[in-house]
């Protein structure tokens, strides 16, 4: 395929940020179809429009997900991208890679595809961007056989779960996010690869309330690490913050004023107001703490999560199509996350939820939309979770309560004729 004239694309080779255009051109030297990627992009830049057609259904035998079909609407001009399907791979939990594996993947993709990738997609998959239908089966064969690696999810499937870096390199992880992510990915391979749900379903695992995998915003089920005992305080290190020996926020927020002011930077910003100083001793009323992480973030050397650790489960987060975006709703305030028992408690919750949603969810209805439609009280009931005030930000203000007949003394059946005897019409 020839090089195209791409003045608009070329503009994007300037400037300090890494240029995907330069990178495309570099690849094109080896994979000439990349000239057509640049070429079609140039056309889009001229037309101010995409030139991709609505994706067709393509895939590998026996799988109903993992490949996103894509065709050019100007294939004659750019035959190199006439077919341009995406291959999604289950990424290893928290995305560490040994270079030998990565290099094998590069070789495979050089052979079987465009040579362009996304590391990673927004959901978390490793994405191979652009190949032809006829390459899919061979690619899959080599991926599974030679790299021992599998496809990710798409369509009305479970999507590849994702997690924060957690215990691998973070002091705050309250459970093993990688272990949980991997365990669920393996346990539910079938759900990832074969559409059986009303719509997509996403898991995300963050080790603490900082939520570094943005689970709360974009996963039907998120597990966020937390603790139920007391924040561990190292008072000696508190003093080191007061003296300036320790840098606030690990040095991460140097811009605004450098002298540490524990009152302003920590105590006043605690959302529950449960911290105070007694001399140079820091006090926390842990019963009032909502484990928001702010104080730990600012004084990582002095403060650590409690030891009775687990996770909060929130459900139903999603993007706005169609009822408006949702954040996850707190469903299980605290659950043990135990790799030893294969996350039994978590699995219970997941499967109860799926049973209900698969039976009751409408076509293309995300879990969050189902919960909104049937109401949180009903959802808690089917989940066999006792309703507690932690489920709400505030109690209802409208008075429209749905009572059930068995809750009302005497039931609902009444005789209007009896009534009329006492109340003339």
């Amino acid at each position: 395929m020839p090089k195209h004239d791409t003045p608009l694309m070329d503009e994007l080779e300037k400037g300090p940020w890494p240029s995907f255009v330069s990178d495309l051109k570099r690849q094109a030297e080896k994979s000439p179809q990349c000239w057509d990627i640049v070429g079609q992009m140039e056309l889009s830049y001229k037309d101010r429009m995409t030139h991709w057609k609505h994706g067709g259904i393509v895939g590998v035998f026996g799988y109903g997900g993992g490949i996103v079909g894509r065709y050019s609407d100007v294939p004659d001009k750019f035959p190199g991208v006439a077919h341009f399907h995406t291959v999604r791979l289950n990424q290893p939990s928290s995305k560490f890679y040994r270079t030998d594996l990565l290099r094998k993947l590069c070789d495979l993709w050089e052979k079987r595809g465009s040579g362009m990738t996304n590391l990673h997609g927004s959901t978390g998959d490793l994405i191979l961007l652009g190949t032809k239908t006829e390459e899919l089966e061979p690619l899959f064969y080599e991926l599974t056989h030679d790299l021992e690696w599998d496809l990710g999810g798409s369509g009305s499937n479970l999507r590849t779960p994702a997690c924060c870096i957690g215990k691998a390199r973070c002091e705050w992880a309250c459970y093993d996010t990688q272990a949980a992510c991997y365990a669920m990915t393996m346990k539910y391979q079938d759900e990832i690869h074969r559409p059986a749900f009303p719509y997509k379903f996403k898991f995300k695992f963050s080790g603490c309330a900082n939520d570094c995998v943005a689970a709360l915003a974009r996963s039907d089920l998120s597990a966020i690490g937390t603790w139920r005992d007391n924040i561990r305080i190292d008072q000696a290190e508190v003093k080191n913050y007061l003296s300036g020996a320790n840098k606030a926020n690990g040095g991460g927020t140097p811009a605004k004023g450098d002298k540490f002011d524990i009152q302003k930077e920590v105590i006043d910003l605690c959302p529950t107001g449960c911290m105070w100083m007694e001399g140079d001793t820091l006090k926390i009323d842990d019963a009032e703490c909502t484990r928001c992480m702010h104080c730990l973030n600012v004084m990582p050397k002095a403060l650590r999560p409690g030891l009775d650790q687990g996770a909060s489960l929130l459900m139903g987060a999603k993007a706005p199509i169609l009822d408006g975006a949702q954040l996850g709703t707190l469903i299980v305030p605290f659950i043990k996350m135990d790799p030893e028992n294969e996350f039994e408690e978590l699995v219970d919750v997941i499967e109860k939820c799926w049973d209900y949603w698969m039976e009751n969810g409408k076509n293309r209805e995300r879990l969050g939309e189902t919960i909104q439609r049937v109401g949180l009280p009903t959802f808690l009931r089917v989940m066999e979770i006792e309703p507690i005030p932690q489920h709400v930000r505030e109690p209802r203000s409208n008075p429209y309560v749905f009572w059930r007949e068995e809750e009302v003394e005497g039931g609902w059946q009444r005789d209007i004729k009896e009534f009329r005897k006492k109340h003339a019409q």
């Binding site: 890494p18 290893p92 890679y97 996304n118 056989h145 994702a162 702010h294």
Partner: protein, 376 residues
């Protein structure tokens, strides 16, 4: 051996999942798994984690375009091999992290990265602008209202210094989604760039019969703007199709998702909206949605100057005015949104007033407001 097209199911392996994460770890991570004590950010882009074993892990984070060639990935592997015992990782926001197990190894790594042109900008830690979580745009998707990679490049070029310097009041998380499907966390970002359509779908009557199930197309519209219709094609043939009540359309694009014969995108109609003040972490104020403050900016490739200027303006105004640790939305909430619009000098339009499902909750139901230039 190898794939046999005649016998595709032979030796088939399925459902094996990803490589096990533990196999991917470098030694320092393996040794200190779950034992980390604290961290420091020794300079922008360089993290130091200290373990209770005394072990230390130095991480150098570099920005990445996310749309990566395998040539580039091989270069990354070369670096990891040279400095990091053959391990590298990607973050949840598409940055690359190189890890070494002693301070001595940091500078050589940094020098190597710096020697490779603008490909490996070190930064993205602490109180800086994050790399932009983004989507496909014109590189791969069929529904975009704007491009992704190009807009991101243009924006990051302009605010680059805030990626490599921790000179902001707090973290500022940027995201871009090229259509209302919002693949990414645009709906909960400090600053979000969102591709939006503004023209109702066309109906391709010539093609619709083969392409869509009409009842699904009709049901796709949350506002009931699509109705079944009988139309006469140029060749005189009467077919069943649909018609769109344009006045009820809110340009969500769900009809096009369900029916390829109803394209919306348009050079003038489609463009960019800016949403701000969202957040995911539970710190202090808790998670929050991004709010739409600029409903439309035109698509002006290759450099989208309007969108770039808008992002920069909001970022700089926040940076100049917010308190330490105050995320963009926390700042706007504290000063009040009327002050936000005034300080950022962004014209307020009715488009920023919610009129969808839960709209009432966003209207002002108190006499508490500030007098700004908006009140004549």
């Amino acid at each position: 051996m190898g794939y046999d097209p005649q016998n595709p199911m032979k030796d088939r392996i399925t459902d094996i999942g990803p490589p096990h994460y533990e196999k991917m770890f470098p030694q320092v991570i393996k040794d200190n798994y779950g034992k980390w004590l604290y961290h420091e950010i020794v300079r922008p882009g360089v993290l130091k984690h200290v373990s209770e074993t005394g072990g230390e892990c130095y991480t150098v984070r570099v920005g990445s375009a996310r749309l990566l060639s395998i040539e580039f990935v091989r270069e990354v592997c070369d670096i990891a091999d040279a400095h990091c015992d053959g391990v590298v990782r990607w973050t949840t926001r598409n940055n690359i992290e190189f890890m070494v197990d002693s301070e001595a190894k940091v500078q050589p790594l940094l020098d190597d990265l710096a020697s490779r042109g603008n490909k490996f900008p070190v930064g993205g830690t602490g109180a800086c602008v994050s790399n932009v979580v983004h989507t496909q745009g014109w590189i791969h998707c069929h529904t975009p209202a704007t491009d992704a990679s190009g807009v991101v490049k243009a924006v990051m070029d302009e605010i680059f210094d805030h990626f490599t310097n921790m000179d902001l009041p707090a973290k500022c998380k940027l995201a871009l989604a090229c259509c209302l499907n919002m693949c990414g966390a645009v709906h909960c970002s400090d600053i979000a760039i969102l591709g939006v359509h503004r023209k109702p779908p066309m109906v391709d009557h010539d093609a619709i019969t083969g392409l869509c199930e009409l009842p699904l197309a009709v049901a796709a519209c949350p506002l009931g703007a699509i109705k079944p219709a009988t139309v006469t094609l140029d060749d005189g043939k009467e077919i069943k199709s649909v018609k769109v009540n344009a006045d009820r359309c809110m340009f969500c694009g769900n009809c096009y998702t369900m029916c390829p014969a109803m394209p919306l995108a348009d050079p003038e109609g489609s463009g960019i909206a800016i949403l701000v003040g969202g957040k995911v972490s539970n710190t202090r104020s808790g998670p929050a949605f991004s709010k739409m403050v600029i409903p439309f900016l035109p698509n002006t490739p290759p450099r989208w100057p309007e969108a770039v200027a808008a992002v920069k303006n909001i970022l700089e105004t926040w940076a100049a005015n917010a308190r330490k640790y105050e995320r963009l939305g926390e700042w706007a909430e504290r000063i009040g949104w009327e002050k936000f619009f005034e300080k950022c000098d962004i014209p307020f339009t009715e488009k920023s007033i919610d009129d969808y499902r839960l709209a009432y909750n966003t209207w002002r139901t108190t006499t508490q407001f500030k007098f700004t230039s908006h009140i004549k």
